[in-house]
């Protein structure tokens, strides 16, 4: 399964990863081989196998709607690279930029 450089660049962009020059070609080659390897699974006959959406054969794990203590604000903000008095500080986001 040949992955093109453009596809790698697109995935990199979506993932906010900056690639060094030449890296896209290198990754296209490596990822193609990974995909080929995983692609072997397609050789299996799965017509009679129900689709699986989770590796664990467990269902219905819930918690009760009971409040638990949250972290102190200072702890919440402790790892923030940049902060204000009570919030995380991020570069200004323009109105209408939203997803």
């Amino acid at each position: 399964m040949g992955l093109q450089r453009q596809e790698v660049e697109k995935v990199a962009k979506l993932s906010r990863i900056t690639l060094a020059p030449g890296e896209a070609e290198q990754l296209a080659d490596q990822l193609s081989r990974v995909l080929d390897y995983i692609g072997k699974l397609n050789e299996l006959k799965t017509d009679d196998v129900a689709p699986l959406s989770h590796a664990l054969a467990v269902a219905n794990v819930f918690r009760d709607d009971e409040p638990r203590e949250s972290l102190p604000v200072e702890t919440v903000l402790a790892n923030a690279p940049s902060r204000t008095a009570a919030g995380f500080k991020v570069p200004r986001v323009l109105e209408g930029d939203e997803d």
Binding site: N60, G87, D97
Partner: protein, 488 residues
């Protein structure tokens, strides 16, 4: 001028915040207006190595809403990661449901001037909310508050079955009514508990040829008024754009626009070309949910009577008009209040009139509401006593209005006010005969008119007697005596 018809096509995505105490995947409290970032933990902060655990109540409320919307509840459902980068989304993905929503293929019946109409529901799924961005007035930065992160939302997606602004409005209001009847959401609009995203385009037939304009999605409208104005604006704008450019819909594409509340206009939102490439994949940290059929049946049986059913019953069981039944079922609190008054007074129709007219007028002038029951002065028990007093002829309707007004402002019951002020209606024949005699003696003009054949003079004599009695004379008894004496 060409010969053409224009039809608007609208589908709606609505996010409803569920009424849970805690967030969807952690024990942090859901909150509004609290100190920023004071309801956060490693799970909702998206710190590495944490595990989300599904809130049972959020799932139960979602299934209740899905059932009330006549959806099929999936026997097997799962959650997926939807990836995008935005500062209010700490994990860089939102846990949502992609291909196996918990509810699908339902409908919501709306009422418009033109009658009832079924709007098909495509799907209903449970997902988490993002945080909030606060834009600093000065300085080149924004602040992130993650209190809202992880709050459970039910997203309800309709089919494009809405054709007018009126239908869109009816759909939004009806949805709000249903979720509040069910108690699955407080649906407080000021707190942003409901957010609407209409998808709009036009089908234009020109000289026998059909065209569709490009689909526009309006983002994040949070009031009924904004939805109405936004959709109405798009209808006009798309038609004008069609006239100018004749640009047509491209399959699978839509433009995103925002709505400016102060200008009433929509505007293009800058969009990254790959914005809709969310790279969904199954959430490995959550296991599947497979509700037992018996549990779904139990929820189905436990569903309360829904607004339209209630309205129908009010019309058939109590003989109310469609209009009154609509007013009395507008909110669940109003409906409960009315039914209690109807039951206690054993006079449903007069009870309906008292609630929709006298009571509504009095509480509106005082800025009170039946919905905020805690500080509402006239309990159903107290109003029922008044309705009974009027129905049994203890007091007249007019005196009833006075008593109601006093009941709202004071603490006394109808009986106490009637007794203390001597307001009980006079039906004692001897006393009324005396009043009639006095009135006849004091009003020779109208008496002569009446005897000369001017029957309307009777009204003036009645008025004089009622006035003299301070409104307490029983009008039925008085008019009998009056006519009898005039014909002597």
């Amino acid at each position: 001028m060409t010969d053409r018809t224009v039809k608007m096509i609208v589908g709606l995505e609505v996010h409803v915040q569920l009424k849970t105490r805690t967030k969807l995947f952690c024990g942090c409290q859901t909150s509004f207006g609290d100190e920023p970032n004071s309801h956060c933990c490693p799970v909702c902060l998206g710190l590495p190595g944490v595990l989300p655990v599904m809130n049972r109540e959020a799932y139960r409320l979602s299934v209740m809403a899905a059932l009330a919307l006549h959806c099929t509840v999936a026997p097997h459902t799962k959650w997926d990661r939807k990836h995008y980068y935005y500062p209010d989304l700490p994990k860089n993905y939102q846990i949502s449901q992609y291909d196996l929503p918990l509810g699908s293929d339902g409908y919501l019946e709306i009422e418009t001037e033109a009658g009832r109409k079924k709007i098909r529901i495509l799907r209903a799924h449970l997902e988490e909310d993002a945080g909030k961005l606060l834009h600093a007035e000065h300085g080149d930065y924004s602040e992130v508050d993650l209190n809202r992160t992880g709050t459970p939302l039910l997203e309800i997606v309709s089919q494009p079955d809405l054709a007018t602004v009126e239908e869109v409005r009816a759909y939004c209001m009806s949805l709000r009514q249903i979720v509040t009847y069910l108690g699955v959401s407080e649906a407080n609009m000021q707190m942003g508990h409901m957010r609407f995203e209409p998808n709009i385009n036009l089908h234009i037939t020109e000289n026998g040829e059909k065209h569709a304009t490009p689909i526009v999605e309006l983002k994040n409208l949070n009031s009924f008024r904004a939805v109405e104005r936004g959709v109405a604006y798009e209808e006009r704008r798309q038609l004008a754009e069609w006239d100018e450019t004749h640009s047509r819909m491209k399959a699978g594409t839509k433009t995103t626009r925002g709505f400016n509340d102060s200008t009433g206009e929509t505007f293009v939102q800058r969009e990254k070309e790959e914005a809709n490439d969310y790279r969904y994949f199954p959430e490995p940290d959550l296991v599947v949910v497979e509700p037992k059929p018996e549990w779904i049946d139990e929820l189905q049986r436990g569903l309360p009577e829904l607004p339209l059913e209630k309205k129908n019953r009010f019309v058939t069981a109590y003989g109310l008009s469609e209009y009154d039944a609509g007013v009395l079922t507008a909110t669940i609190e109003m409906a409960r209040y009315f039914e209690r008054v109807a039951e206690l007074s054993a006079a449903p129709k007069p009870a309906a009139n008292w609630v929709t007219q006298g009571l509504t007028r009095e509480i509106n002038t005082r800025g009170l509401s039946i919905e905020s029951a805690a500080d509402f002065p006239v309990t159903a028990e107290r109003l029922a006593e008044l309705v009974k007093a009027v129905e049994q002829g203890t007091i007249s309707k007019t005196i009833g209005d006075t008593v109601l007004s006093e009941m709202i402002d004071g603490k006394n019951s109808a009986a106490e006010i009637i007794a203390a002020k001597g307001l009980a209606q006079v039906s004692d024949t001897a006393a009324l005969e005396r009043m009639v005699d006095e009135a006849l003696a004091a009003n020779p003009g109208p008496v002569a008119d009446y005897r000369a054949g001017k029957k309307q003079a009777l009204g003036r004599l009645m008025g004089a007697i009622m006035k003299a009695s301070g409104g307490k004379a029983n009008p039925k008894v008085v008019s009998g005596i009056l006519e009898q004496k005039l014909h002597q």
